[in-house]
């Protein structure tokens, strides 16, 4: 993975000075320590997950209720909630991130470009609780009208059903609040800058020669983008989106602030009440006994494995794309 393949460092031989030996020893020590700390988290989670999986079996993944007192415990509902929030987030974040990345790399005036890049970075640094407040206090009162409109006009799609009458003279506003839809919009704000940064990075590596060639052949700017920039950056588009999906799945606070927890399998994203794995952990850790705690840790482990798989896949896709492998012009 060394970036420079042209000049490889020579092999160092001979005896080493004491300071070098101390340096290597210390660096290796720190490395092993960090390996121990980070690795132990994964091992600990897996170790805690084992008895829970053994006790509840596959039912852990199919049971939707979370009532440990009755011996019924499962993550089906929260898993569905996690994914519905994440997919709503991607539905908004993907087109906006792609559009913004293309704007920054192809349209923005040179002087404004670096400002834009900084602003997107700033957007990534804004704490998630601020986005939670934004979603809850500023967005929710407006979005419930959109939810109602979607319900009125598109309720033949099962996702957009809400169990209330949308055309009633006094419509039940509270049925549309605290939904996966609104939480998803807040999460979209959080994952958007990440997707945008990866996409922009890849777009900016598009070979200038190919872009110029497209323009010289008489292409419009959009034609050039479609023929050169997007095919070149396909790896980055997919990879960046998946990275942001991984982030969206694990997001806690913005979601917890907005949703009201419900443990039912509910594909109706506009309706009040849903829950995510992280929301489950945040809500239930306080009163958990040791077995419940290991059940929560199992849920956390499942979440971690999912995000890990998605991130790994994203990294492979980003590096596989033509954009990862240098240019031939």
């Amino acid at each position: 993975m060394q970036p420079a393949e042209l000049d490889l460092p020579r092999e160092l031989g001979g005896s080493r000075s004491p300071s070098d030996r101390i340096f290597e020893f210390t660096a290796r020590g720190i490395g092993i320590m960090v390996l121990g700390i980070t690795g132990s988290i994964g091992v600990f989670l897996a170790y805690q997950a084992y008895p829970t999986i053994q006790r509840y079996g596959l039912g852990f993944f199919t049971e939707s209720a979370w009532s440990p007192d009755q011996g019924k415990l499962g993550i089906a509902a929260v898993l569905l909630g996690t994914f519905s929030v994440a997919f709503v987030a991607l539905f908004f974040a993907f087109p906006l991130a792609l559009g913004t990345a293309l704007y920054i790399s192809e349209y923005a005036p040179p002087r404004f470009k670096s400002t834009c890049v900084s602003l997107i970075d700033l957007m990534a640094a804004v704490p998630s609780i601020i986005y939670g407040l934004w979603g809850f206090f500023l967005l929710q009162p407006h979005v419930i009208h959109v939810s109602r409109w979607l319900h009125q006009n598109l309720s033949f799609i099962p996702f957009f059903k809400v169990e209330t009458d949308p055309d009633a003279a006094v419509w039940a506003q509270t049925r549309y609040t605290a939904s996966a839809f609104i939480a998803g919009i807040a999460v979209a704000m959080m994952v958007l800058p990440m997707a945008c940064a990866v996409m922009r990075e890849v777009f900016s590596q598009t070979p200038v020669g190919e872009k110029e060639a497209a323009l010289a052949l008489g292409s419009t700017r959009w034609g050039m983008i479609r023929a050169v920039v997007i095919p070149f950056g396909r790896g980055g588009i997919i990879g960046g989106t998946m990275l942001s999906l991984g982030r969206a799945l694990g997001e806690t606070i913005a979601v917890v602030l907005i949703i009201s927890p419900a443990f039912v399998i509910k594909p109706r994203i506009l309706e009040v009440g849903t829950n995510t794995i992280s929301g489950l952990i945040a809500g239930r850790f306080g009163e958990a006994t040791s077995t419940q705690l290991s059940a929560l840790l199992t849920a956390g482990f499942v979440l971690f494995v999912i995000t890990l798989l998605i991130n790994t896949l994203a990294a492979i896709i980003v590096s596989r794309g033509r954009s990862g492998a240098g240019t031939d012009i």
């Binding site: 420079a4 923005a108 290991s294």
Partner: protein, 361 residues
Amino acid sequence: MTSTLVRPLGVLPMADVPRVFQRRTADDIASLVGAAIGSLAFVWLCYTLILPFSGRMGFVACWYGLFLAMYALVTSLSNPGPVVRDRLASAILHSAAAVVLGALASTVIFTFYRGAKALPHLNLFTEDMAGVRPQDNLKSGGILHAIVGSLIEIGLAVSVTLVLGVGTAVYMTEVGGRLARVVRTVVEAMTALPSIVAGLFIYSVLIVALHVPRSGIAAATALAVMGLPIIARTADVVLRVIPSGLREASYALGASRWQTVWRVVLPTARPGLATALILGVARMVGETSPVLLTSGSSTFLNVDPLHNAMNSLPLFIYSTVRSGEPTAIARGFGAASVLLALVLLLFIIARLIARQSVGRR
């Protein structure tokens, strides 16, 4: 991921500079402005006066849709199809960027706007919430305990992650070997760890199993565990792009490996490292979920991280906002403004350092 996006050295495409596109003609501007005004007038007439619709969001959506249609129509009067598509795509991409930047601006402005009620009361910065009920007015009580708690927790967490994170990065890039590759794989995998799971890990190990009280030190450990993979990875990315020619030159002059790392590699990487670290710190300051599980929330000022609960800014915001009490929410927004200002400050410092490094070269 960013590491794989780094351009291989030796390829220098910056040699050919793209030409600047032609400026807009009067026709372009006129059709754009005309379509915008025409669609606005049309939508206003239909939406508010003729059709039984209401709501601001619907109005804007209809206006935007009609604007695109009108713009396409006006452009197609004097231009061929590809140009129409080009103009439309340009309009859509510009508006996507405008929506994103607008959303960012609205977040920042909204937070400070709602915080403006609590911020002018200076007791917000000098008092804690001991003996103050949530519904008491804004003239009493403050968030001093949360600010101090945040600073202590972050200070502890950063002092650990800084040493370990940069040390690991140095080990991975400068020492290397098979074990270093294992460390890199595990660290990269752990960046996928959701922050709440890191918090739950510390909660079940430190607080439940080892009976450490809920305190600042537990929260700092949770933050450190969450931040360590992030900082190690970003530092690794920064160190990896240091040209190996610099190291070679140093070795060629007879320097030892330690001297090379200390005198050549780290100083060269300093601005990049500083930027990466400050952004990592900004991320840790705002993280709520690990703190929620581990620190407990006190109402009084507590500067001892080892004993008693310790509040922090994100946790204070979270608990006040959920209380539903209007004055508590106002106080929560005051704390949110302080938190956001802190993040902005860190961000600006990071930018200045980054810019300095570009200017020097």
